[in-house]
Amino acid sequence: MTDGERVSIVLIEDDDGHATLVERNLRRSGISNGFVRFSDGQQALDYFFGPSTEETGVAPGVPSREDLANFVVLLDLRMPRVDGFEVLRRLKADPVTASVPVIVLTTTDDPREIERCYELGCNVYITKPVEYDAFIEAVRRLGFFLQVVKLPPGHRLARP
């Protein structure tokens, strides 16, 4: 895979089993070269909005958040402390992180929740259990698409 097709995955998921499954499948597909997993929303928010990585000393292998251009965020909704809605909202509200594609990955398929996520600005909503082939394709394409497409400056999805 070329660099252009690789993305860094940020997975925010509280269930270890689910997280492991996603990780294994994504690894197998070779789509990502960096994989970050947060167990709850608070950790994710700290990562995105907290002090810079140089100060907190993020573990090696974890892409620094300055390199946001190749991120894809996989977000679960049901999490303790800070849930997925809040994370989604914060991500899309902040112009720096608003351009990061967010794929909501969750068990619930309630139309109201789906609508709410799209209103908050998620890019894709996928219900578990996931068909990983199609899923991986979607991830790849989304990341690639956002890499390649030139968006006018100031657009909320444009790179800063």
Binding site: D15, G17, H18, L21, R24, R78, T107, T108, K128, P129
Partner: protein, 563 residues
Amino acid sequence: MRAKHIQRKHPKNVPTRARYAMKLFAKGLLLIAIPSAIELALLGVVFDTQEAAARAARSAQNSKQILWQASSVVDPLLREAARVRTGIALEDPSFIDRHAVWTEFADRIALLSRMVADNPAQLARVDHMRAAAYAWRAQAGDVADALRAGRSIAWTRVAGDAIPPEIETVRSDLAEFIDEETRLDALRTASLSMTRAHQQYALIFAVVGSMLIWGVTAVVFARNVGVRLAALRDNAQRLADGVKLAPALSGDDEIAALDAVLHQTSARLDRAVREQAALKLQLEARAADLGGANENLRQETQDTEMFIYSVSHDLRSPLVNLQGFSKELQISCDDLQVQIDSAGLPADEHRGMAELLDGEMKESLQFLRQAVARAAAIIDALLRISRAGRVEFRWQRVNMGRVVERVLAAARALPDHARIDVGNLPPAWGDPSALEQIFGSLIDNAVRHLDPARPGRIEIGALDGEGTDASGAQGVDAHARTYYVRDNGVGIPAAYLPKLFHAFQRLHGGDSGAQGVGLALARRIAERHGGRMWVESAQGAGSTFFVTLPGQPLRLLSALSTA
């Protein structure tokens, strides 16, 4: 007045109706009779006085006549006396014999005698006068005889110069008579004028009395009957208007009776109104109870559905892991197999490992994955059926032909020689995807239950006009359409028919496609549309599923859809 006096004499609660009738009639009679009687009395008095006056007048006139007659009665006597003297003087008896004179005198005195027949004193005088006159007549006769005989009448000469004493008697009697009669006459005239005065007074009294009587009658009538009638009418009007009545009228005639009836009616009306209000309260209470019970039921159903929903939803998360990791196990096993195969192990160990992998592990994994798939399907079905009551329908006119087309396009492959015929399907009113679900379930069911022994035929159509279901329940509404899906498959045994539409009661085991909720869901959807679903089936011959759907929107349906 007298009428009222009579009233108070009688007790209030006199029983018979005849008595009441007499009362008002009696009052009326009295009101007419008494004044009439008094009028009659007055009239009588007037006539009386008139009569008296007339009598007095007659009497007075009578006296005058007597006086006149009396004055004339003595004249013939005097003339006869003169003739007798002349006869004596001339000694001619022809002067004396005058029968006409005495006839005339007799008549006059008889008349006078008749005139004073009622007065004995006067009558006595008249008789005395007559007697004296006749005595003198006898004397004159004697003289005539003597003259005729030629005797000497010297003694008569002397007697003949003056008026004979009998005539003098007559004259004096007559004078007395006339005096007396004059006195009577004066009396009678006085009496006459007095009577006339009486008559006048009587007339005036009668007129004034009449006016008084009628005035009093009018007042009595007004007070006793008029006012009470007005009160009665007023009460009747109040009754009609539903206003409280005035206090009951006194007395016990028909007016009072009518008034009592009015009061009774008013009391009954009040009672009826109160009863109605009580009944209405009861009805409202019952309606409220019913509403409450309904609400409870609805709430419970909703709670149950929510419970099922949340449980099955929560089960999804472990299910993801189950499915995912069973697949992972499979993958790892395959990898292991590959590694073992390429490891170049000694044949025995290789065989042992391969056996282990291919045999028990593979079998275990297979069962595991099947079970996981089954659990996933059940949880999915639970979710679907618990969500069926909550999904909002988008009501519109639905082209059923297209719905069935879509279903058939997505349906499972038909076995060989099987055919599906679609008849003319009139449009229905409902939610297209929900209706698709119904037909999807039905068609899927039909296909699944085809008899492999004969070529399958599935018919989808609609009934004409009014359909009635097998149980003969109420006829279908004219606006509703009844569709059917008929197959000639294996049919359903009669024993299972009641449970057919219950969730999870699967008749034929094996294939876990619908998980036994398809028919239950389909029926729930049909009911939420305001329709019905039922089945007719003969074991070994086939089944026909009927579903009724509304053709036009009914206001009732929107209430049902939120149930």
